[in-house]
Every structure is written in structure tokens, then in C-alpha cells.
């Protein structure tokens, strides 16, 4: 993208913009829609240089992402608050919970972690270590135990000690596995037994994910009514452009961003910054 600054806009410019978006995993349909909008605006505003066109494109991207409702994660004082973390395997669910637990503890809230990934080897140990690191209580079951009972126990423990927030870690599952998605619905129903407790269902998406990310979002949203995306591993060179398609087609906003493996490597999502990074 650097090479085109200052040039007059021609077909090559549009091709380069298209390439940049595709290389960022934005995908063909969303790329097409964005560039159509930019072309229309460039014509209407009689803009002819690449810098201005790139600026318009950034605005369009930020606007697409901004079209969402708030990005704040919801916690109501004096109420049971549960955030459920879901997603395919290895995307960063457990790590994101660890980081959020630290952030929420720092904000003065008492946090309970529910190790409802009872499937993957040492998944509960991993969460346990995070709990120790950030000073949050961890409720876990035996390996292979019913994840629903872990959630139930964690919510009971939280209410017993009047904790503010329960973060529920779930086993990674591919959105195509019908049984596992049914299990996930069941887990959500267990949270919902306490009416209004489920404040967030965060779908964790790995920034290196390609077009499959949209299918993931669609299926998880259908199953458990996702409230937001946690976009992880943005500390690499992958851009995570698939969240544009997810926002555009499903209206699910990105709420938080993971930028490393450390406890502080978590950020609020900033559409303008994200849009700028797409062209770096």
C-alpha cells in the first residue's frame, strides 16, 4: 500500500486496495461492498488522489464497525453476572478469560472462573494457573465431568460469596459438530436458569482465521446468541479482517482484542485504529 501514496487513482489503485483487503482476510463479498461504497463516494466528492481514496476507505471500514451498539462488557452491580466464552479449538478462550479476570479484579470486582472445559487434557489446570496468577477463584470438576455441573457449581459459589462476575470457560468445538453445539446450548440454558444472569456470550476469533470465521460466527450466534467478538492474536501480522464480514453480515461487534500471551495483553477495540492497521 505504501507505494501508491500521492498517485492519481486508476484501475491499478483499485486493484491494490482490493488486494490489501483480501490479504487482510476481509473476504470477497465485503471487499466488493466496501470498494463500491468508496468508488461512489470518490466520484461524488470528486476525489482523484490515492491518499484521499485510502482515507475514505478507512472511514468506510470504521463506519461499518461503528454501526454496532456499545462495546462495553456488561456487569450490573448487585446482580449475578455471567460471561460465557465460546469458540473453535485453540483460539484463545482460556487465555482471554485469564486476562479479563485480571482486568476485572483490578477494577475492584470479585471474579469466579468456571473451568467448564472438562474435555481437553489439562484445560482446567491451565485455567487454574491463570486463576492463581490473577487471584481469582476457580471452580472445576473432574476431567470428563459434566461441564454443566461445573457452571452450576461456579454460579452457586459466586452467589455464596457474593462475587460480582463468573467467567465461564468452555471446551473448544468446531461449529459443524452438531452434538457439541447442542451441548453448548445446554450450557447456556443452565446459565439462563438464573434469569438475566447471562450478560455476555463472547465468541473468540483468532486473527489468523480466514473465511471460515464467518461460518463460525453464524453457527455460534445461532446456537447461543453471541453478544460480541473477542479478537485474539492481533499482535502478529494477521489483520483479522474477517470481523468486517462478521459485523457486516451478522451485526456482531468486536468488543475486545488480544495482543499477546501476557496478562496485560488485552485491549478495548478501536475501529479507527483497526482500519488503519489493515493497510500497514
Amino acid at each position: 500500500m505504501r507505494g501508491i501514496a500521492g498517485r492519481a487513482v486508476d484501475e491499478e489503485t483499485w486493484e491494490e486496495l482490493e488486494e490489501a483487503l483480501i490479504l487482510a482476510d476481509v473476504g470477497l463479498p465485503t471487499t466488493g461492498r466496501l470498494l463500491d461504497a468508496v468508488r461512489a463516494r470518490a466520484a461524488a466528492e470528486k476525489v482523484g488522489d490515492t491518499d484521499s481514496v485510502v482515507a475514505i476507505l478507512r472511514e468506510e471500514i470504521a463506519a461499518l464497525l461503528d454501526g454496532s451498539t456499545g462495546r462495553d462488557l456488561v456487569v450490573e452491580p448487585g446482580e449475578p453476572n455471567v460471561w460465557l466464552f465460546v469458540g473453535v479449538n485453540g483460539v484463545g478462550k482460556t487465555t482471554t478469560i485469564g486476562k479479563l479476570a485480571a482486568q476485572q479484579s483490578d477494577a475492584g470486582r470479585s471474579v469466579v472462573l468456571a473451568a467448564a472445559d472438562t474435555f481437553r487434557a489439562a484445560a482446567a489446570e491451565q485455567l487454574q494457573l491463570w486463576g492463581e496468577r490473577v487471584g481469582a477463584a476457580v471452580v472445576r470438576g473432574q476431567e470428563g465431568a459434566d461441564p454443566g455441573s461445573v457452571i452450576y457449581d461456579a454460579m452457586a459459589a459466586a452467589s455464596g460469596r457474593s462475587a460480582d462476575l463468573v467467567l465461564v470457560d468452555t471446551a473448544g468445538r468446531l461449529h459443524t459438530k452438531v452434538n457439541l453445539m447442542e451441548e453448548l446450548k445446554k450450557l447456556r440454558r443452565i446459565v439462563d436458569r438464573t434469569a438475566g444472569a447471562c450478560k455476555e456470550v463472547l465468541l473468540v476469533i483468532d486473527a489468523t482465521t480466514g473465511q471460515n470465521g464467518l461460518a463460525q460466527a453464524r453457527q455460534f450466534a445461532e446456537a447461543v446468541d453471541v453478544t460480541g467478538i473477542a479478537l485474539t492474536k492481533l499482535d502478529g501480522t494477521a489483520k483479522g479482517g474477517i470481523v468486517l464480514a462478521i459485523q457486516g453480515e451478522l451485526g456482531i461487534p468486536v468488543k475486545i482484542v488480544g495482543v499477546g500471551e501476557g496478562v496485560d495483553d488485552l485491549m478495548a477495540f478501536d475501529p479507527a485504529e483497526f482500519a488503519a492497521a489493515l493497510f500497514e
Binding site: 485469564g98 487434557a121 473448544g172 468446531l174 489468523t208 480466514g210 473465511q211 461460518a215 501480522t237 500471551e261
Partner: protein, 443 residues
């Protein structure tokens, strides 16, 4: 999604069919469509350019075979080139003449390295080798514990220590010598390819372990980034092969092509699930069809050509195209299909058939029952199953030695199959969310 490319090619060649010969302009159009299809499948743009250049070369010199339409011809060229690119010896590690053979797994965070280490140990053990699993990921919380549990499940010895990754590797080599293990599998921490310090650390592990197989573990859901990852890991530690994980989902898996274009080394294994036995040699032909989004339709055509006589092939094609077939056609199909080998294999190759169906255990003996039922029907009933009322059902059941509910099931499932065939006839996308069942009892 299915048949996206076929559909596009049919569009281009619909005009062209009468002319019969590919002009350079046609080829450009074809190249454009291939590019779009590969982008949808997450193949990296750079890899696409290289690939298309080769396809154009092949296509411009190609003889137009009489038996294939131009669209089929080009699909075959694209498919064959894709198989050739993805190909190479698979499922075989380089064994050192002087044991132990060392395998080092590397890759991004969460790609599936630790799981692959466990799966590999299980596979090698089953082949009669004596692996040692080594936990050199001292970064991720409980990563060592995770591998230790997997080692226990596979029942192979495990080694790790609380030190530095290179020291773990050193200790592991000594442990392997002490225990007389002939394969050492080193699991390493996930790292971003741009993390210079961690890439250095990986080189350090490699320099101690001196692996005969340095394998990159890549998630099949990876997008455009796959090329950068493969390139950087290859530059840093010199890759000997690739393991592609999580192909049990519905990602098109273009990352496989991206990585292969860059690294050139074989994709050895594919991860097909979370359990330790979900691991198999990589199949270039299956992956090629998957990337192109068309099932293994070519293999099916080839197999069909072997088993069917020519008239049958034409009929089968018409059936696939239009989904207009009755129970009598179906009976003919069943009898031909039986010549093609076990039904399980044949169904596995059909595009658009849901994975659940492919995975289901199909008992070929059940076919006999289906055949018997159809044999007991009149021609009119076979042509128009809607007329089969209660008393006809009783008669058919009695005639075929089955029950009326068997007959019912067959009729119901046949109807669904007709709908499915119609949905998947070349070029027509299947009905979304619909999971039709094949008219085979037990499915």
C-alpha cells in the same frame, strides 16, 4: 458453496461449448474465476498467482478430449495441477539410520502442536516404534501437563524439566538414549513468526535436538497469513514437512496450498478431530477437491467410468444434472454402485453429502433389503412412488420379506434424496441447512 467453481465454469463455457476450442481470452476468463474460487477458499494471493500461471500453461497446450465438456476439461486440469502441487509422499517421516529419529513440532499458538505430538506418538507406537514424548513448551500454562496426560493415554514415556527449552531437548536426548527409545517427539511452545526472541529460542532447541523432521503444524482454518507463517518458520529452522490440523471442520483449507507453494515440502499428516486416533496421512486429491469446493467428484467420475458402461454413464450424468430419477433408476444405480466398491467409499466421494452421512457406518447388506423392496414394486410404483398407499405397502412388505415401516422409510428417504439430488445437480447450490438422508436404512 458446493460446486461454486463448476457453476462458474459452466457459465463461461455455456457460450463456448459450440466453439469447442480454448482461446487465450477464454483462458483469461477462466483464470479470473479460478482466482475468485481460490480466494474464497483462503488460498494466499501470491500462491494463487503462481498456481494460475501453471494452470494456464497446462490448459493452453491441452488437447480437448472428446469425452469431456470444455468445463469438465478445465476443471480436470485445475484439479490435477492442484493435486500435483499438494502432492508428494505423505504419511512418512524421515527415519534416521542411526536412532533415535527426532521430530520437532513448531507453529503458531493454538495450531494443534501438542495434540499432534500425542497423535504422532500413538501412530508410531502402533507401527512398532518406541517414541519418547518431550514437553519443551515452558510458556503456556499447563502445556507440559497437557502433553504428560496425552503420553499417559498413549502409554509412552514422557520427558520434561523446569529449565529452558534447549535444556529440555538436551535432557530428552539423554533420556531417549537411557531408555532406548528410537523416536523422540519434541513439542515446542507456540510462537508468532515475527517474535524474534522466540524464533531464536526455537533455533536453539533445533540445534540441540537436531531433528530429522522439523514439522510445521498449521490450522486448516488459517487465512491469508499462512504464507507468511510458513515462509518465516522455513527461513528460521528449515522445515521438512507440514501437519495440517482441524480438517474435520468445514474450512475450505486453502492454507494447505499456500503453505505448500512456499515450503515445497510434503504435507505429511492431517488432524481430523480432537481425539488421539483422529490422525491420518494427508490426501492431496481430497484436499484439492475440497479447496475447489466440489467434493471428490472427479474420482467419482473416474470410478463410474470404470464400472458403468457408457450408456449408464450418460444416464448417471443426466440424473446428477437434473435430479429426475425414479426408483427404477435408483435400483439400476444401486446395482452399478455395487460394482464400484463398498458403498461407504462411494458416498464419501459425493459432493454435498453431509459429513454425518459420510461418517455413518453403512452396511452393504442393508442394500439387499432396499433392492428387495424395489423388486417387489410394480414398474408404475417405481416410477411414481406417490401412488403407494397402505394396501400396496402391505403387499410390497410381504413380497420383500420386510415390514411396512421399512417400506415407508425407503419411500420417505427416497423422496429426500430426490430433493438432495436436485439441490446438488451440477451448478445448483444445495438447500441450506437441509440434511437429507440417503435411502439406505440405518442412515
Amino acid at each position: 458453496m458446493f460446486d461454486a467453481l463448476s457453476e462458474r465454469f459452466e457459465g463461461i463455457f455455456g457460450r463456448l461449448r459450440s466453439r469447442g476450442r480454448l482461446t487465450p481470452k477464454d483462458l483469461d476468463e477462466v483464470a479470473r474465476e479460478i482466482r475468485l474460487a481460490l480466494i474464497e477458499a483462503d488460498v494466499n494471493l501470491r500462491a494463487i498467482m503462481q498456481f494460475i500461471a501453471r494452470v494456464k500453461e497446462q490448459a493452453s497446450g491441452a488437447e480437448v478430449a472428446k469425452s469431456l465438456s470444455p468445463a469438465q476439461q478445465v476443471i480436470k486440469i485445475v484439479h490435477d495441477e492442484l493435486v500435483a502441487t499438494l502432492g508428494g509422499t505423505t504419511g512418512k517421516l524421515t527415519m534416521s539410520p542411526k536412532p533415535p529419529t527426532v521430530v520437532m513440532l513448531a507453529g503458531l499458538q493454538g495450531s494443534g502442536k501438542t495434540t499432534a505430538a500425542g497423535k504422532l506418538a500413538r501412530l508410531l507406537k502402533a507401527q512398532g516404534l518406541q517414541p519418547l514424548l518431550v514437553g519443551a513448551d515452558l510458556q503456556r500454562p499447563a502445556a507440559v501437563e497437557q502433553l504428560r496426560i496425552l503420553a499417559e493415554r498413549v502409554d509412552v514415556p514422557f520427558y520434561s524439566e523446569q529449565s529452558a527449552p534447549a535444556d529440555v531437548a538436551r535432557g530428552a536426548m539423554e533420556e531417549a538414549a537411557r531408555l532406548g527409545r528410537n523416536v523422540v517427539i519434541v513439542d515446542t511452545a507456540g510462537r508468532l513468526q515475527i517474535d524474534a526472541a522466540l524464533m531464536d529460542e526455537l533455533r536453539g532447541v533445533r540445534d540441540v535436538a537436531m531433528p530429522h523432521n522439523t514439522l510445521l503444524v498449521v490450522d486448516a482454518m488459517t487465512g491469508q497469513e499462512a504464507v507468511n507463517v510458513a515462509e518465516a518458520f522455513n527461513d528460521a529452522v528449515g522445515l521438512d514437512g507440514v501437519i495440517l490440523t482441524k480438517i474435520d471442520g468445514d474450512a475450505r483449507g486453502g492454507a494447505a496450498l499456500s503453505v505448500k507453494e512456499v515450503v515445497g515440502k510434503p504435507i505429511l499428516f492431517a488432524g481430523t478431530g480432537e481425539n488421539l486416533e483422529d490422525f491420518e496421512p494427508f490426501h492431496p486429491d481430497r484436499m484439492a477437491s475440497r479447496i475447489l469446493g466440489m467434493g471428490d467428484v472427479l474420482t467419482l467420475i473416474e470410478k463410474a467410468e470404470e464400472a458403468f458402461d457408457e450408456e449408464q454413464v450418460r444416464k448417471a450424468e443426466a440424473i446428477l444434472r437434473q435430479g429426475q430419477f425414479d426408483l427404477d433408476d435408483f435400483l439400476g444405480q444401486l446395482q452399478q454402485v455395487k460394482k464400484m466398491g463398498p458403498l461407504q467409499g462411494v458416498i464419501g466421494m459425493l459432493p454435498g453429502v453431509p459429513k454425518e452421512v459420510k461418517d455413518a457406518q453403512i452396511d452393504d447388506r442393508e442394500l439387499a433389503r432396499v433392492e428387495a423392496i424395489i423388486h417387489s414394486m410394480t414398474m408404475e410404483e417405481r416410477r411414481n412412488p406417490a401412488i403407494v398407499n397402505g394396501s400396496r405397502r402391505v403387499r410390497i412388505a410381504r413380497g420383500s420379506g420386510t415390514t411396512t415401516s421399512d417400506v415407508n422409510n425407503l419411500l420417505k428417504q427416497f423422496k429426500q434424496m430426490q430433493q438432495m439430488m436436485r439441490g446438488m445437480g451440477f451448478g445448483r447450490p444445495g438447500k441450506k441447512g437441509k440434511r437429507p438422508r440417503l435411502p439406505v436404512p440405518g442412515l
